[in-house]
Symmetry: C2
Subunit: 460 residues, 2 copies
């Protein structure tokens, strides 16, 4: 079994396991107490804070441990917004942030604030000048991930931080995906991270607030962690998280080069091995271990099942996966195909042979799904050789509308159109993406009583 | 070293340690994923939920795991209040709830809600009829702990739950101190608890919301744990928490009887061994392992240090402990002495000999502190034999004002008064308590430019 979903959660690092077990005996007591067990717990907590601060590149008193990366994001955003309430209630996020950031923005809007979503290019990155253009006199906070969790693309954090600093706006960096690989460069103001992404245990996040940044913790008062993270500290987990961070950092340069070679191999080989595939994300400015691609005429959930049966654990941003009904907002913001989406995120230590084995089983897995769905192997002749064919795909979920479109396009004359009537949200993304991949013209979308009509003109 | 502060945090139970180690291999992946590692994690999480629900006496789908007991309380109160916003914005709490409840009430008030604090008797318990009298047509939520965390007194939860049910008001029970000992009886609606109180790891709380209770989770959307506890689940810790709960419950009846005998011993012997001591809390309706007493003319922090040196870890509700500046709100609400306060909370398994050793070192520890502070051993003759002596104790911290009062009271004639000018918050509690213990009359409090004047009449 090969686990290729490190971007969701990495297996516990051996160093984290040792640290966890060692600190179970010393780290269970209340670090606020003055007796011996409390003092021991406090020493462990202080040492973990120093180690984590050193890895982040901040002062220990700027860093608190939260109960998860999600909590760090929620608390960081609401605290920073509240701290600058007098300046204004405008928030900036990129369109491809983690849902923890986007859901925080929704709460902010419900409470009367406004949010600007900065768009990304087709590789998933914001442009520093576009981001800077979103800054306003009433901007209370700007948020930007260090690197994207679905496609691995690195964001221009240092340049955006510089623009924010010039405007006097604090920048919160969600460094969940990158902190194990290195410090976040640039003059950022707040930073969040999640230990189980770098091989630490679950239940530990980091929230860093630079000295001088206005910050007003929200929610009920709680004295622990400088009033920024309510609840009794989980010291053994915190110690394990800090130890794992130090351990992965020690190997980061070597391991990054090795994993980059493996993901480069996937980026190159997948389009050679599988037809109608789009590899997404920036080919160069990206995290070492993540590579993402989408397969036409495939539904993500079926492909995940095929790969699971073949011994590979990967994830998908397709709308067809069980936990979501809409396609990944990241793929949507990038304007790339979402159907048959697969994210491969290699944990440190992944053997080269596992990647080769993945490449060897992928073509059959994709073919199996396509065959089951009746995907086109060659353009079919449609029964209605008219110049304006209507395809009713109402009630059909991705990738069926695209499969049916591919099946009929050959039946209209060059210059003629197919009008696809569909109500699956993924169609809005996947039909234009299909047109781009197949060299057909996407004319546009028209309203319909149910769903929408997507108009495609046959060009070739 | 004897650790007598189980009410703060219990050492990790051996069963919890085993369960934690065993689930580190299987429980690190994302339980929302469909691949093998995710399915294994989901199985562990589901099994832990069933075990915890069985211990609570609820359905598994009524119970979610939070990142701490504090978070369970915060989320439970805000979700229940929001769910019944249309009914009204009145909240009821007892005056002796944990600070997590009281701080949630403060947030509610800041947001425009109102709170009734139900008083307690001298033993620390609410009266069911007084509690019922606080219910109003606009009451959205009522909160009552199952047992008090500082003095161990059990609350009449079943009777209060019945009154709440009759009024159609949900009752949230903070069961942090009692859940290890047994289910909470009565028809409550919501329940919270904290695993590290029963020997589970830190970082795990429980929030139970009975079916049919209106509940609207607040904060940013997050799909985990039915939308009621944001952040990636810490499954190994959750598994360990559930295993420990099951293990302590299996021994609860036997261990409760044994610890009750030990705390009875302390309740009986301490007043025999130490002069000027008040044992507080209900002598019968109480948790098995907790006993609390206060010592006149002693400051809590010094006594904790003496006991720590003698090998005992206890905590204190005195204002003199380093982490607080005001005396315990629990002791204040009970109207009992706060100075020289010691809470002994025995972990399951505490050997009988450790308690005997504690009783053997306590008198010397108290004497050492009293001697250092110049506490009276016998009434002294004051220099001012007038009928209305004024004692200026401004700027002096507890227990100095009381020590000085005791030093001068013998110098005023019977029927005469001492007017104590003091600005330490603890004086408001400790001077009346001293009067009651020494058979003197507490006349009342008068305003002053700085602090207040506490008037005491010599009766005997």
């Amino acid at each position: 079994m090969s686990y290729f979903d490190a971007a969701s959660a990495a297996p516990l690092h051996p160093v984290a396991r040792q640290a966890l077990q060692a600190s179970l005996d010393e780290g269970w007591a209340d670090p606020a107490r003055l007796y011996r067990e409390g003092r021991r717990a406090r020493l462990l907590l202080d040492a973990a804070r120093e180690a984590a601060a050193d890895a982040v590149g901040c002062r220990p008193d700027e860093l608190v441990f939260t109960s998860s990366g999600t909590r760090a994001v929620h608390s960081g955003i609401e605290g920073a917004l509240a701290g600058r309430r007098r300046v204004g209630r405008h928030l900036i996020v990129s369109a491809v942030e983690h849902s923890a950031v986007l859901h925080s923005a929704e709460v902010h809007e419900t409470a009367g604030g406004t949010t600007t979503h900065v768009p990304v290019d087709r590789a998933g990155a914001v442009s520093p000048s576009t981001y800077a253009g979103a800054l306003r006199p009433d901007t209370a906070l700007a948020c930007l991930q260090s690197a994207n969790h679905e496609v691995g693309t690195e964001q221009p954090v240092a340049a955006v931080a510089q623009a924010c600093r010039a405007a006097g706006v604090p920048l919160l960096v969600d460094a969940a995906q990158s902190l194990g690989w290195g410090r976040v460069e640039g003059d950022w103001s707040l930073l969040t991270a999640s230990a189980h992404k770098w091989g630490g245990p679950s239940g530990v996040g980091l929230l860093v607030v630079r000295k001088g940044v206005r910050f007003a913790p929200q929610g009920p008062l709680d004295e622990r962690e400088s009033g920024r993270a309510a609840g009794f500290e989980n010291i053994p987990a915190v110690v394990a998280a800090a130890a794992a961070l130090r351990a992965v950092r020690a190997q980061a340069a070597v391991e990054a080069a090795r994993l980059r070679e493996l993901t480069d191999r996937i980026r190159t080989r997948v389009p050679e091995l599988v037809t109608d595939v789009e590899v997404v994300g920036d080919p160069a400015r990206r995290l070492p271990g993540i590579v993402t691609f989408s397969c036409l005429y495939v539904d993500g959930e079926s492909l995940l099942h095929e790969l699971d049966r073949a011994g590979f654990s990967v994830s998908s941003g397709s709308s067809c996966t069980s936990s979501t009904l809409t396609p990944s907002h990241v793929l949507k913001a990038m304007g790339v195909l979402s159907e048959g989406n697969v994210r491969v995120s290699l944990p440190p230590g992944t053997p080269s042979e596992d990647v080769d084995r993945f490449l060897s089983v992928l073509p059959a897995a994709v073919s199996a799904v396509r065959e089951k769905l009746g995907a086109p192997t060659a353009p079919r002749t449609a029964s209605a050789p008219s110049g304006a064919l209507v395809l009713d795909a109402l009630g059909k979920l991705c990738p069926i509308p695209v499969i049916e479109l591919a099946g009929v396009i050959g039946g209209v004359p060059v210059g003629g159109t197919v009008r696809v009537l569909a109500d699956d949200e993924a169609a809005r993304l996947d039909i234009p993406a299909w047109c781009e991949m197949r060299g057909q013209e996407y004319v546009g979308e028209e309203p319909a009583d149910r769903g929408a009509v997507y108009v495609v003109r046959r060009v070739s």
